[in-house]
Symmetry: C2
Subunit: 334 residues, 2 copies
C-alpha cells in the first residue's frame, strides 16, 4: 500500500497536565476528531510512564477508529506529535522541558518505534496555531499568528500556510517579548515579558497583589478567603458576577495582551491573530479592551488588515495541528 | 531585445534628506555601484521637484554607465525604487509619508513613465535590508532582520531570500515595537516604542535631559554650549573622547536596542540581525552591551543561532537593495 492509499493520521497533543490523542482523515474531513482520547500526563511518574501512556492512547485510538470505520492499522500514514519545547524537529528530540523534566529526550522515535508508524514532532503552540489555520479560525488566511494563554504563553507563526520555525526551531515565542524593560521578572529569566503579566498564574498573582493592597472585591469570597486558591478562572468568575475590581484586572490583562499583539501587528503585519486559552471565555470583557489597545498602538494600515479573534477548535487545536504538521512534514503538503 | 539580454538595473534610494541613485549589473557584479549619484531631496520644493530630480539622476546615471561601458539605454531592465512608507507596492503609490509630505502619490509610475523603463517600488528599510542580504553582511544567510537607525528606526525582514511584506506591506516596523508600555511618547502616537529611545533624535534628547538634570560631561563643550545643536553624533564624539556620561547614554541606547532585538530573536529566531546607521560607528561601545542585553533577555538556543552585526554596504545598501527588489519583483529571482 502506497502513502497515497493511507486514510488517516494520528495526532498527539502532549501538555504538562494533559495528553490528548485523536485521528483525522487525510483531508481533515469535517474537523471532527475521531477516537478522541484524553488522560492526565502525570509527568512526575517519569518519562517511561508518559511515553507508555501516549503509546497506549495512540493504539487505543487506532483500534477504535478501525472498529468504527472498518479499517486496519495499515490505513494510518503516521503520527504527528505536539510537545512543549524547546525541541529539535530534525532529530525529534525534546531539548529541555521544565514542565516535564525531560532533557535531550528522543520522544518522536520512542513513540514511532513503539507504535510502528512514522512520526513527526513539533512545538505544542506551533501545532495549536497550525490547527486553527487548517480547520479553525484561520481557514481563510495565509498568514496568522497564534497566542496560547495558559500556565505560560505560547505562540505560533504560520506564513504562507507553513509553520515558521526560524533558525533553531524557537520562532514564535511571543510570550517572552519584553513589554516593560524594567518590569516583572519572568520564569524565563527575562524582565517584563508578556507572560509575566498575562499568563494564568500572572493574572492570579496581579489580582492577589491588589487584594493584599486593599482592593474592594468579592474575589476572596469566591475562594473562601484562601487567596492561594485564586486563579485566572476566579477572576473571570468575578467579572461575570459584575465585580469592578475583577473587571479592572481583566482590562489590565487585555492591555498587556493588546500591547504584545500590537507589536506583532507592526512587526509581522498578519492577516489574523488567534487567541486560545481559558481566558478567552471572558469574551468581550477581554476582546473589546484588547482590540482598543491594538488600535491605540499599532499602525493603522497594519491593524486594519488584521482580525483578532478567539480560537475555534477548543480542546482539539493541538491534535488537529499535530496532524496537519505531520501531513506537511512527511506527506509534503496540507 | 529580450529581458534576458538586459545587462543592468538602476536603483533609487529616496530619503527625507538625500537621494542616492546608481546601477548594478544583473548579477550584482562585485557590489560596486556604477554611476553613483547623490543629491539632496529638498522635499519642501514639492513633489514635482523631487520627481524631476530623481528622473534626471536616473538619466544621468544611465548616460554615465553607457558611456563607461559602451552600452545603450536598451541594456537596462528597469528601476528599483526604495522610498519611505507606508506605501502600496502593487499600485506603486506612496500612501502617506510625513517626511516628504506626500499622500497617495503614484511615485513608481511617474518615474517609470518619465524614464521609459519598468519600475518597482518598496519601502526604503526593506530595500536596505535586502541589499545587505544580497551583497552585504547577510550574503550567507536565508533569514535576516535589519534595523536602520537614523531620524527614525526602520526595519526589514528577509525570509527565505525574500522581503517579507505581511498583509498590507507594513511588516518590519520594528522601530514601533513597545518596550515600555507606559514609556516615552513616540511620533507614531504610541508610547514606549524602540524609536522613542534609540533613534538619533531620541539619543540626543536623552543626553540633553541628563545634562539639564546636572550630569557632569564634556558634551555641552562639543556644541559650544548650544544644547539644541547636540546630536547622536555628538554623543558618539563624547564616547570616543572618553566621556563617562556619553558612554552611559550610549550604553542605555545599546540596552534599548538589545531589548528590541531580543524580542525579534524570540519571535523570529533569525540567523542574523544587521544594524545600519551612523550609531554603528560607535563599534564595541554599542555592540558589546547590545549583545549582552540580548543574551540576558533572549532564549539561549535562539540567541546562539543569531549573529548581530553592523551593516557592510555603507551608503549604498538602499540602492543595492532596490536593485535586488526590482530583480525579484520583475525578473522573478535574485
Amino acid at each position: 500500500m502506497s502513502e497515497n492509499d493511507k486514510r488517516w493520521i494520528v495526532g498527539v497533543d502532549l501538555g504538562g497536565t494533559n495528553i490528548v490523542v485523536g485521528v483525522l482523515p487525510l483531508n481533515g474531513g469535517d474537523g471532527e476528531v475521531l477516537g478522541l482520547q484524553q488522560a492526565t500526563t502525570e509527568a512526575s511518574k517519569g518519562a517511561k510512564f508518559v511515553v507508555d501512556r501516549i503509546v497506549h492512547m495512540v493504539e487505543d485510538t487506532i483500534a477504535q477508529v478501525c472498529r468504527d470505520h472498518d479499517g486496519s492499522k495499515s490505513d494510518f500514514a503516521g503520527i504527528g506529535i505536539g510537545s512543549p519545547g524547546p525541541l529539535n524537529r530534525s532529530t525529534g528530540t525534546i531539548i529541555n522541558t521544565p514542565n516535564l523534566g525531560w532533557r535531550n529526550f528522543p520522544l518522536r522515535d520512542l513513540i514511532s518505534n513503539a507504535v510502528g508508524l512514522p512520526a513527526a514532532l513539533d512545538n505544542d503552540a506551533n501545532c495549536a496555531t497550525y490547527g486553527e489555520w487548517w480547520l479553525g479560525a484561520g481557514r481563510s488566511v495565509d498568514n496568522l499568528v497564534g497566542f496560547t494563554l495558559g500556565t505560560g504563553i505560547g505562540g505560533g507563526i504560520v506564513l504562507n500556510g507553513e509553520i515558521f520555525h526560524g533558525a533553531s526551531d524557537v520562532a514564535g515565542e511571543m510570550g517572552h517579548m519584553t513589554l516593560d524593560s524594567t518590569g516583572r521578572r519572568c520564569k524565563c529569566g527575562n524582565y517584563g515579558c508578556l507572560e509575566a503579566y498575562a499568563s494564568g498564574p500572572a493574572i492570579a498573582l496581579r489580582a492577589v497583589e491588589g487584594i493584599e493592597a486593599g482592593a474592594e472585591t468579592i474575589l476572596p469570597d469566591l475562594v473562601n478567603g484562601r487567596l492561594e486558591d485564586l486563579t485566572a478562572a476566579t477572576v473571570y468568575e468575578g467579572v461575570v458576577l459584575g465585580d469592578a475590581y475583577a473587571n479592572e484586572v481583566m482590562t489590565e490583562t487585555a492591555k498587556f495582551l493588546g500591547t504584545g499583539i500590537a507589536n506583532i501587528v507592526n512587526i509581522l503585519n498578519p492577516q489574523m491573530v488567534v487567541i486560545a486559552g481559558g481566558v478567552t471565555r471572558a469574551g468581550d470583557h477581554l476582546f473589546v479592551p484588547l482590540r482598543a489597545e491594538v488600535r491605540r498602538r499599532a499602525f493603522k494600515s497594519a491593524q486594519e488588515a488584521c482580525s483578532i479573534v478567539p480560537a475555534q477548535l477548543i480542546g482539539t487545536a493541538g491534535v488537529i495541528g499535530a496532524i496537519a504538521m505531520f501531513k506537511k512534514e512527511v506527506l509534503g503538503a496540507v
